[in-house]
Symmetry: C2
Subunit: 477 residues, 2 copies
């Protein structure tokens, strides 16, 4: 591992941390973010007006990084841009392994002063081999050791999802929204302008990190396309790599220039990169989280043939259109399945051709039996069940045992792990109850999605990635 990556590793596992430039205006955000870190957290601030507030929070303040007595492996720097070279100089002198530069106002402003300052910082960091993260970034989130960049992030538990982002907001939203959807992060790195350590470095780091088994990234542009490609193509054979790209339109590319001064590549270049590397292209935070959720909770399934189950007829049409438009199949079932259905399924108000419109077959043991037929059918690779609360809340209110039976039936299906089971819980007026219900299903091991389109897209990606891995295995064998 090269020296800068060793330093990044040390910064992610620090003995002590310093916050340079904590201030009342943002309620001492960075000091509060680090409240979950077990080791010492020092403040560095020269502003006499800020020091009393910092000390009142219980932090020891120093005037300079070099004044701190013990070792400091990681520093978050949030000082005005003109002060950043001095702080970086002190960090290098102190032997700090990594600096996350929250400060903005560099090349992304389009101004000469900002560009010049960025070049100065980059040259200093390169000479010293220090891991400069940013500038214009939220830096590191490493839940296991309690390094955070937002006060709402969970800490203390190890995770397996790595995430890289040129946007601090997307990094934080990923960590928070992901946590709400059952994902546990290993390391999340927001790297903004990425002037010293850039996307290929972070990808390399997460590739080698055994705790990380899946990598997502939000990227606005690549400085060294060849190097990016060389790293990116080594990842999907070992772990899924999901790429969400900002700047897909001309207007969006103008926005990336103002945001991280990135030079965006064309859609054609990115399309070719995805095809050649086996990376999964996703569009937006929701698709990113949904797909990783599906990768986490579903067995890898190269198949594309779905068994679709809804409570009523209208949704059976719409779920079918939605999955078919994602290039997935909704095939006729086997003759054996139809023979089984004929023995018990009431087709008045329902149908079982696939999609399965349950109609009145909800009652009795039919729900269980419908899922068993699909589980056993050799024409079906995965099963999707629509669980709309508009319908279910009333059932649950009327029949006290309804929910327990539904859950035990889903659990039975889930334990036959050979066939993935997805649920959809969405677009009812009971939006709050949906949040809880999706969580309950996830606790059973059944990933629940917000609507048909999100479930279909996530499954398509999981299935495509499984085919990619299967092809590799075949070529290797």
């Amino acid at each position: 591992m090269d020296r800068r990556l060793e330093n990044l590793h040390r910064a992610l596992h620090p003995r002590a941390v310093a916050v340079v430039g904590a201030r009342r205006l943002d309620d001492y955000m960075w000091l509060r973010n680090l409240s979950t870190f077990a080791g010492p957290v020092y403040s560095v601030n020269i502003d006499e007006k800020e020091i009393p507030g910092i000390e009142a929070l219980g932090f020891q303040n120093y005037k300079r990084l070099t004044d701190i007595p013990g070792p400091v492996d990681f520093a978050v720097v949030a000082v005005p841009r003109r002060a950043t070279p001095l702080v970086l100089q002190d960090a290098i002198a102190k032997g700090v392994a990594g600096v996350a530069l929250f400060t903005a106002g560099f090349a992304e402003t389009g101004e000469a002063e900002g560009r010049q300052l960025q070049e100065t910082l980059a040259a200093m960091a390169r000479d010293a081999g220090i891991a400069l993260i940013g500038p214009n970034c939220m830096g590191l989130y490493h839940p296991k050791v309690g390094l955070r960049n937002h006060v709402e992030q969970p800490a203390g538990e190890a995770g397996n999802v790595g995430f890289l982002s040129q946007s601090g907001t997307h990094a934080i939203n990923f960590s928070l929204y992901g946590a709400s959807q059952g994902l546990k992060c290993s390391k999340v790195i927001s790297y903004g302008n990425g002037v010293v350590l850039d996307s290929p470095d972070y990808l390399e780091y997460l590739l080698q990190d055994d705790e990380t088994t899946v990598i997502g990234m939000y990227i606005e542009g690549v400085r060294d396309g060849r190097r990016f490609f060389e790293v990116a193509k080594r990842i999907p054979p070992r772990k899924p790599l999901l790429i969400w790209r900002g700047g897909q339109t001309e207007a969006g590319r103008r926005a990336t220039a103002s945001h991280t001064a990135s030079l965006a590549q064309s859609n054609e270049v990115w399309g070719a990169l995805l095809r050649q590397t086996g990376a999964i292209g996703v569009d937006g935070l929701e698709e990113m989280v949904d797909t990783i959720k599906a990768l986490q909770f579903l067995k890898p399934t190269p198949g594309t043939r779905l068994g679709l189950v809804t409570m009523t007829g209208g949704p059976s049409v719409v779920i079918t259109d939605t999955f078919a438009r994602e290039g997935l199949e909704i095939p006729p079932l086997s003759e054996a399945s139809y023979a089984r259905f004929r023995t018990f399924f009431n087709i008045i108000g329902g149908s079982y051709q696939n999609p399965i419109d349950m109609g009145m077959n909800w009652a009795g043991e039919n729900f269980e039996e419908i899922l068993r037929v699909l589980r056993d059918d050799p024409h079906v690779d995965a099963v999707v069940v629509d669980l709309p609360l508009t319908f279910l809340l009333r059932r649950m209110a009327l029949r006290p045992d309804f929910k327990a039976r539904l859950f035990s039936c889903l659990t039975e299906m889930r334990q036959h792990d050979d066939k993935p089971l997805l649920a959809v819980v969405g677009f009812s007026p009971f939006e709050k109850e949906e949040v809880d219900f999706r969580r309950e299903l996830l606790a059973l091991g059944v990933p629940a999605f917000h609507n048909f389109a999100r479930a279909a897209r996530a499954f398509r990606h999981v299935s495509a990635y499984a085919r990619f891995r299967a092809r590799l295995a075949q070529e290797g064998g």
Copy 2:
């Protein structure tokens, strides 16, 4: 108005209603649905085992429709399919104006018996001129008079949104989800197989209904294409018509056959119909509700040039990509606007080219001033503000007056009604708080959408419809 439509009108404004076939198995669903109807609700049931339960709920039960002493204008029929001709015969004899046939098991089963029964009912209804709604449907929801087809639907208040659906579930979901998003329905009609009264009849009725100012529909197939087109083309010049189509894929068309026995038309035919009529094609319940919400809360705006405002940089890129992909423009602002921005906008960590990445400009009066600049800019037709709770909840906790200032600023913007203002509140882990916050914004008159894509799609439709109306006005003038 032809006789069947007169009868439909009378069924929608009944003196009394009868439920034929109420039963314990579904907890007397139809009787309970009608608890909000002010006039008499009678039960008709011949099953001795059901009668005590019905009477215990306080309903008078009769053995036959013709036994009811007073007039009955509307009947919901939920008896086994073989009993339906007898019940329809009684309804005709009784002078009932309209019958909603909840019973399924007709042509959509693909069986000879079901097809035959459907033909029998259709012939009887046509001869008598009775408004037969369905079969295989949820019938009527007319909130103003308390006719409902789901116990959660609001009642007692008049509304302006008409909705037609071949799916009962979509009709109910529309009414419930729509209500949660601030829509008030005038009449919602679920008509299932649509064998006597069909989509052109219902469209004609809602076109003539002055209470209905916008019409949405979910449709799986059209029996008489010429007639459908003739009615449909008369609507958009007077009120927006939104069409959501089930059966857009081959697999989806197989599902529509099992659902309502509809013969689906090709995507090309529907594409041509939308172009030639000026109807708005939407895809899914969410897009239907979002678009009607936008039509309700935004001034008609033929323009396509957006001013986009986000709190931070990453979302500024993504919102721009999202709106640009919908064919909307994010233009540079006027020189006058840039001159104003230069006087106060801190570009360190922010940018104002459009999109506006506010960065630290949230503080002080800058938020207000940013919106005022966009309001005054002649290059901008509408403004979209991203209000992510991950960011806002902390601000609101830290600064007690923050929310009041934000709301007064949005209200100020909103009162300058010449330029539509849209908000986006979404994809944070605070999904429940988002539900409340969107409602609060709606109460200010600011429609809030769940994500960028949903806002962009809704605005595109509003803008396209305003251009359609403007062209018509020009041709007329």
